[in-house]
Each structure stands twice: as C-alpha cells, then as structure tokens.
Assembly symmetry: C3
Homo-oligomer: 212 residues x 3
C-alpha cells in the first residue's frame, strides 16, 4: 500500500463497512424473496437470507485470511441479515409484489456495493491488485453462488448477462481509480457506479460474453 | 467472557472435546449408512462418513477463526471418523438393519452434542452470544448440509421437522443457562436435552415452521 | 518435524511450489476443457479453470491454517490459471481435439503433483502424518469436487476407478518414503509416480473398490 492510503486507514475501513452493510441489507431481502418463491419455511427463508447476504463477504474474508470473518466477529452483520430477512417474511405480501425490474435494479446496487467493499478490503490487508480484483468479484457473486449450490442448481450468476463480469469491471475500476490518485470516496463511487451501470446496460441490451 | 468462565477454561474445553467426539462417532456411522444406502463404494462411504462427522465442526472452526480446525490439528477426530465409518462398512449387515426410529434417536443425540459443542467453543474464543447461537446451529447441521450438497440434493435439514430449529433452540438454551449462572456441566446437559427433546417431539407430532 | 527436515525448509518449500504450479497449469487447461464442453461462455470457462486449478490447494490451505491461501497471497497462482485457461479458450479448436487417453494421462500427472504438494505442505506446517495424507488427497481431488458441486452434479472423483484412492496412496507413499529416510526430492518423485501409476493402471484394468 502506498503512503497516502496508509494515512487514512479509518476512512478506507469505513468505506468497506458502509458498503458491506448496505449490500448486506439489500441481498438479505433478495435472498428472502427467492426462498419464499421456492416455498421454503421460515427457517429456510432465514438461512437463504443469511447465505445471500453474508456468503460473499465470508468467502472473501476466509480467502484473504481476515479471520474470523467480519460477518462472524461483528454481530451487526448477522443481526442486519436477520432483521431484513425477518421483515421480508412478515411483509411478504408487499415484498413478493416488487416488480422484476426493481429487483434487478436493487440487486445491481448490491452487486456494486459488494464489489467495492470486497476489492477495498483485500487491498487494505495487503493483497495484490490483480487478486484484489478477483476478491471483489467473489464478494459480489459469492452469496448468490452459494445459495444456488445449496438449492442444487447451476449458479445463475455464471449464466446471466455480464453478472460476474460487471462485478469484475467494478473492481478493476477501483484499482485503476486508485492508481490515478483519486480520493478514496471518489474511487468507491466510480467503481460502484461502473459495476451498476454495466450490469443494467447488459440486462437492457442482452449483452453476452463469447463462447468457444 | 466473564471471570467465572475464564477460571475454568479446562473444564469448558473438556465439555467441547467430549461432546465433539461423541457427536463425531454418532454422525460418522450415520454418514456411512446414508452412503451405503446410496450404493457408494468403500471410498465414497469413508468420504461421506468424514463429511457428516467432521463437516459441521470444520465449518464452525473456519468461521470462528480457530485455525487450523480441530478436526485437522487433532488426529483423534479423523481417526475416530475413520474407525466408526470403517466398522459400519465391515458390519454393514447389522448396521443397515438399524430401525428408522433408532436412527432418528441417535441423530437427535448427535445433533444435541454438536449444538452444545459448537456454541460453547464459539463462546470460548470470545464470539458474541447471538453469533455463538448461530455457530452451534451450524455445527449441528453443517455436516448433513455438506453431504447433501456433495450428493447434489437440496439439504434435508432445511426441509424436515424443526431440525435446524432444534439445534438453534439447544444453542440458545446454553446461552440462557449460562446467563442464569448454572454450572458449565449443567448448562451443557440442559442445552443438549432441550435440542434432543424438541427434535424428537417435532418428529413425533410432525411440527412444522410457518411458510410465507 | 525431525531435525533433518527442519534443516532444509527451502528445498521442501520449493518442491511444494514447483509441484503446485505444474499441477495448477495442467488442471487449469482441464477445467477450461470441461467448461467449454458444457457450452459455458468465456467467464464460465475462466471460473471453472480457476476452480479446478486452485480449488484443491485453497481448501488444503484453509484446512491446515495456512492463511491466506497461497493461491490468494501469491499472484503467480491465479495468473497461471488465468493464462492457461485463456490460452485453452483462444486455441479451443486444438485443445478440444485432445484425445481422451491423453487427457486422462495429463490429469493423472496433475493428480500426482497435487497429492505430493498437498502432503508435503501439510507436513511442513506441522500436521500429523495421518492427517497430512488426507490433506494430500484433498489437494488432489478438491478442485474437481468443487467444480462438480458448482455444476450441480455428484462429484465424478467419488465414482470413477480409484481416483481419490490413487491420490491417497501417493500421499501415503510420501509419508512412508520420508520415514525410510529418502531424500526429499526422491520422496516426491516416488510418491507422484505411485499416484500416477495406480491411476493409469486402474483406468486400464477398470479396478473398482468394494461396495457394502
């Protein structure tokens, strides 16, 4: 890490915390919705809400050696997932009525938040830029991948329009913006926006990656 | 951790060790039985026995940052799983003849043991009460969940009568009993019994959680 | 660890590094091939290449408490997987034309390399011989198992002719050769060859383990 970055560890940790918690809230609701649609009971809804909300961050923390994972050491993470999943269960009539476009928009926002949080946290503990980009991607898609593995289906995020790729581009944008010397908060906004915009554009235009 | 607890680390570690090993033995036999019923060969039987017996504890240890996991650092864990899985394979005629009610009873005992061991170990390393309850639940259901993931089916424990919920209630009972100042051994027995009783009652009466 | 081993940590670490990287390259190509056969897009091909190449080593490192895993801390691991997976994608016409027998031979070589690297690394960090043998096996089969879990199918390696068993025998050979006092490099070659030979023979003769 360069000197400027080491001079503001508090601010960088705060960016990770805020982006992580905001992403956790969004993804917990999303997880609860997908579990209620699969007719799971209250426990199943809470388990899937936890997995989608916390799975990506836990995987990232295990991989970068930040042990124990923040989602275990800091009770606010699971408590937030519990509350959001519980609220989604109680108010299921309203929640299940959320339109598909709005869900995709919320999910894209969560993806951008997690891509930023994951990349920044990996950099904070001294992981190289290239691997930090991968860690940002893992943070963004990890929860959804584990949910699909638990539900015994091939992860959607490996199949749909530039999903993991959007997280990857967001993470790479963060690295690039830091190299250009932008302020930490500007880097975070730029990276999250890049991820969000690419995901929304890819859904709108049906962009796909090439096949062999 | 409070002063009283810190004064008897040896006793608390012993409770974890004994409950962990007893649960490991029970779950290794159960894993071997489910693998033999699925027509797997000797290796498959041993792998599934290991996964069911050690998967929950390994997941707990990775999540709470107890690294390396006890099941890797202490050879008695895998050796016990190896011996119990091997014995189940050799004496498969007798083992496969165990009646379903007896299997459910053994499994409920293993679940109670792991719920106690998991919660107590998380508390021992300084995890908050709320998250420790979740870790006790993960220890109880983790092995079965990983087995079902490996066998490409939706985890049974997310579907059947108050299975994970029983582990959760057992873990919560441990926390409550400690708050009330009961002796560590009394807390452990109370918590294990609560988990066991709830699981058996839920099977008998077919209790289910609500759906949205 | 005995005195002789502690005297040559550099050489032992080098054996792990070289075997790990060679296995990573072979398995990345294999992963890319299986993903291209499953009609995945460029991202899916890269993800599966990463999983098959790095999954076993990451699992081993998490289990033995070598944190963060080498595949995250050392950028050469993911860079190698990226380059090999990318080359397989670009030259897919040639790569997809590789004959089945040659693929099995390459895979058996990768399996031997990972079994050696996994066992040696576990011993290097002070894991007991018995558990180190299991860690060698996990390193060899882990990537393939995680790939199959992600693709929602029962892991092939639990079903085909002495696959995991070959890794286990290779790992056990390494332990035995070290006990006999052979030079580290001789132990590694002997163990890798034992795994490779047993795997090839089992495919040729269709050897199977017994069922209950």
């Amino acid at each position: 890490m360069n000197a400027r970055v080491q001079g503001v560890p508090g601010r960088l940790d705060n960016i990770v915390l805020v982006a992580d918690l905001a992403g956790t809230a969004v993804f917990a609701v999303e997880g609860a919705i997908s579990a209620m649609r699969a007719q799971l009971d209250l426990l199943g809804v809470m388990v899937i809400a936890f997995i989608v909300a916390l799975g990506g961050g836990v995987t990232r923390d295990l991989l970068i050696g930040a042990s124990p994972p923040k989602a275990v050491a800091d009770w606010r993470y699971p408590a937030l997932a519990l509350v959001m999943g519980g609220l989604a269960f109680v108010f299921h009539e309203g929640v299940l009525g959320i339109s598909e476009p709005l869900l995709i928009l919320l999910d894209a926002a969560g993806l951008g938040l997690f891509a930023v949080a994951g990349t920044q946290k990996a950099l904070n503990v001294g992981i190289s830029s290239f691997v930090a980009t991968l860690m940002g991607t893992v943070t963004g898609v990890g929860g959804g991948v584990i949910r699909d593995i638990v539900l015994a289906r091939i992860p959607l995020v490996l199949q749909v329009d530039l999903y993991a790729s959007s997280a990857f581009i967001g993470a790479a944008t963060l690295i690039l913006a830091r190299r250009l010397g932008l302020a930490p908060m500007a880097c975070a906004w730029l990276a999250g926006s890049a991820c969000f915009a690419l995901r929304m554009l890819s859904v709108h235009y049906g962009w796909q990656l090439p096949r062999a």
